[in-house]
Amino acid sequence: MKDYADAVALAAAIGKKEITARVVVSKTIEKIYRHNPQLNCFTTVTAEAALTQAEEIDAAIAGGKDPGILAGVPFAVKNLFDIEGITTLAGSKINAENPPAREDATAITRLKQTGAISLGALNMDEYAYGFVTENSHYGATLNPRDRTRIAGGSSGGSAAAVAAGLVPLTLGSDTNGSIRVPAALCGVYGFKPTYSRLSRAGAFLFSSSLDCIGPFARSVRDIATVFDVLQGEDPRDPVCTKKPAQLCLPELNQGIENLKIVVADGYFTEGAEPEALEAVAIVAKALDVKERIAIPESHRARAAAYIITATEGANLHLKNLQSRPEDFDPATRNRFLAGALIPASWYIQAQRFRRWYRTQLQAIFQQVDIILAPTTPCVAPPLGQEKMIIAGEEVLVRPNLGRFTQPLSFIGLPVLSVPIWRAGKLPLGVQVIAAPYYESLILRVAQVLEDERTINYL
């Protein structure tokens, strides 16, 4: 099968009957079965259901019906999304005892309505508590760009599946960086929209104050397409916004004239390897951005995000922590147990600080439209590594990968991690950040960068 540039190109080819959805899905299943034993992206492959759906799409096309903008495009989801008929694992052994989900998550339903075909569920850190996807129950997901290294997490299977070319589209979730970190380490696009923008119904939560869902893809227009498809009110998610959808795809090529773009200074330049800052410099240069801006108290924002996550995560799992702590992944167990012991005042202070930090960013976004920052402080670390040297200092791998992502999701900002490639080196990501609900500006900037070949999927 020809390798199509992205999901939109593949759907167009299927729509024009250059290739059938059935052939696409068969080849996709073959590819998954060939590579997954080593990469360990998929935890469930829904081959039969996918083939049935592909035949329905082909029949619709043959009958002259509009099969939808993503007709015949295979996709897969982090295994915390409900897939009808499959048990939702959320990376845990405990949830494997649950009955199969009775309906699809809202995001899956909406993708299927546009003709996209669900291929199954993807590996993750247990209950999304991690940046590495080294899961003691289901194994580590390998980074397809260097199989001795981690894919990042917690949506590691989602990033790696796109990077390995197994499927062109996946969904993940991001509480502190769980979409952006693996996207950067695997060299793909990963989009965390504004908090509340997309329905989380049918996705197993981690820390409701912060949880978002979003897509991974090979191109900016694929990200925009999926984002537009997933937008819209949903009574099944009480957090989901009631604001009307603002479609990004029609605005994608409007350019960036008159947009004020700056580079995040201070905290966002510290605790990083020089190459992570070089990645930001590459993007800044391409956009002719020279101005920098400091975001005050970002180290405290990261700390407050940590406290909220630890408290809410532990509360969500308290019953199992009380009755069966031995069934948790050793990598998450002690952190969840410690999180259950946090005094209420610390949590409330963190929530109040969140309000304060939000006012700081609101003031900044009165003056600027887009902020650039590194996604991770380094390239993908080797599998199994506990500590690493960053900027000359020995630090723990797991928490530090989220250093630059955490303060931003803390206040719900929309962020796209764009892939940066340097000859012969592992990929890195740069975060393109906008004010809440200004996803369209982010995607316009990314489209310009992609058109100039500053960023791309390899």
Binding site: Y195, R300, I307, L321, P325, A340, L341, I342, S345
Partner: protein, 68 residues
């Protein structure tokens, strides 16, 4: 030297706090989990102090439904 003594004392304090609060929360901490939980709680306490030390104006409320 003084610092070191203070740190050791603090660690002991957290062990007691972890044990007692775990009991209060209905968590039966196995002896093999205790050191890891104490370590993690110590880390949480250090992180929380960054937030707790910050002088927030009294009129800053948490957002019950967060609207970014």
């Amino acid at each position: 030297m003084d610092n070191r003594i203070e740190m050791t004392e603090q660690k002991e304090d957290f062990t007691e706090y972890v044990k007692q609060t775990a009991q209060l929360m209905g968590l039966k901490l196995k002896p093999e989990y205790l050191p890891g939980v104490v370590d993690n709680f110590e880390r949480i306490a250090a992180i929380a102090s960054l937030v707790n030390q910050f002088d927030l104006p009294e009129d800053i409320e948490a957002a019950p439904i967060f609207e970014p």
